[in-house]
């Protein structure tokens, strides 16, 4: 029966249901991905952010929370200019991290 409304999807991130296999693979390649303390330097300096909302911080977070689609959408705007790696206070090699994500995760699967 059509009531004119349905059960609204939950916005809650359920960590029990997050498939961690790909992130585990990413972590093997990029141990520093866990070093991010979400300061946001990368996002604020990102030239692609202006055009596409790209933010390395958000990508890392989104992948950990199982929001891969969102991460892929942002990554497609990345120009790999490397400013984020220059400003990262924790010395994370963000460029290689991004490339590794682009290899492990698949936009087709989203």
């Amino acid at each position: 029966m059509d009531f004119g409304f349905g059960i609204a999807p939950s916005s809650t991130i359920n960590l029990d249901k997050v498939d961690r296999s790909r992130f585990t693979r990413l972590h093997e390649l990029e141990p520093d991905v866990y070093k991010c303390m979400a300061c946001g330097s990368c996002s604020s300096t990102c030239p692609a952010g202006r055009f596409s909302g790209m933010s390395v911080r958000k990508v890392i977070l989104a992948l950990q929370r199982g929001k891969e689609k969102e991460a892929v959408r942002m990554l497609k705007g990345c120009m790999l200019c490397g400013k984020c790696s220059m400003v990262c206070p924790r010395g994370i090699n963000t460029r290689h991290l991004i490339l590794s994500i682009c290899r492990i995760y698949n936009e087709e699967q989203q």
């Binding site: 991130i13 359920n14 029990d16 866990y34 979400a38 950990q64 929370r65």
Partner: protein, 338 residues
Amino acid sequence: MKENIVIIGGGAAGLEAAGQLIRLGYSPIIVEKEDHLGGHLAEWHCLFPDMTPASDIVGRLAGAVSDANIFTNTEILFINHLKDSYNVMLSNGVSIIARVILFTTGFRLFDAARKEEYGYGIYNQVITNSDLEHWFRTGDDDRIGSVPMEAVGFVHCVGSRDEKAGNAQCSKVCCITAVKQAIEMKKRFPDAMVYCFYMDLRMFGKKYEDFYISAQRDYGVRFIRGRVSEVSENIEGKVVVKAEDTLAGKPVRVTLDLLVLMAGMVCNPDSTKVASMIPLQTDSDGFLKSKDNILEITSSSRKGIFYAGACTGPKTVPETLAEARSAALDIHNFIESL
């Protein structure tokens, strides 16, 4: 030297101050209400950032005061203010006339059950930092390890920075303690996911930041910025935790096998009781009020009454020890000036 110095509290501050005073040639009297020395430190397993066993520290501190007069299992019944000294009446019948009293009465761990939404004392798998240390120390706790530990959570700031809980202050040590305990859990249960729910991470001390990075990178401890709002139990007896992942701007929920509440430091009511006998001023946070928070942190507004350690506010062990030494020197100078 025949000057009576009463030290109230045989914890880290009391022991260190007594040790220093002995070296300066005094014979201090330590009054401790418990049956053992070392205070909270004696209940702890090991300390950040070098994982030093707490028992080693207590052993060394207690070793330095073996010559002192120590009354354990003893409480202060009353203190009378005489002309320029104090008459301290102890529960064991001893009465001491002293011109100097040092308060090293410390803190009390926040009663985590007061944060009802976290269900401490109601949900089996919710424990406190202190319970966890007890388990580290003795291995005696059925709640840990009896079920597979797939996910463990730590809640920072339980009863700290919480006006509703009556404690607006930061307890200073819980952040790093949570990091330390998370690492220890990860060492014992390498396959477990370990989450820390925090509001702010205050890694102010020496090597704390290294410790934090190591927890993230080497141990994979996951830090989620957001305070746990409520805890419930599911049909399997696991703990279901709800929080907001404020970095994602989304609510987050996770099922845990164990939830550790980082109970903070609050003022010790016993300290307040003894202070009211003189009486001494207390601060808005309930801790004893120093004469000045920068210049005279170890002095009270009353002549001959000194403070050291967490009786004036949350402190780390090194800070407590430094204050104890400082108080010993202040007492020495005070006696010299008499």
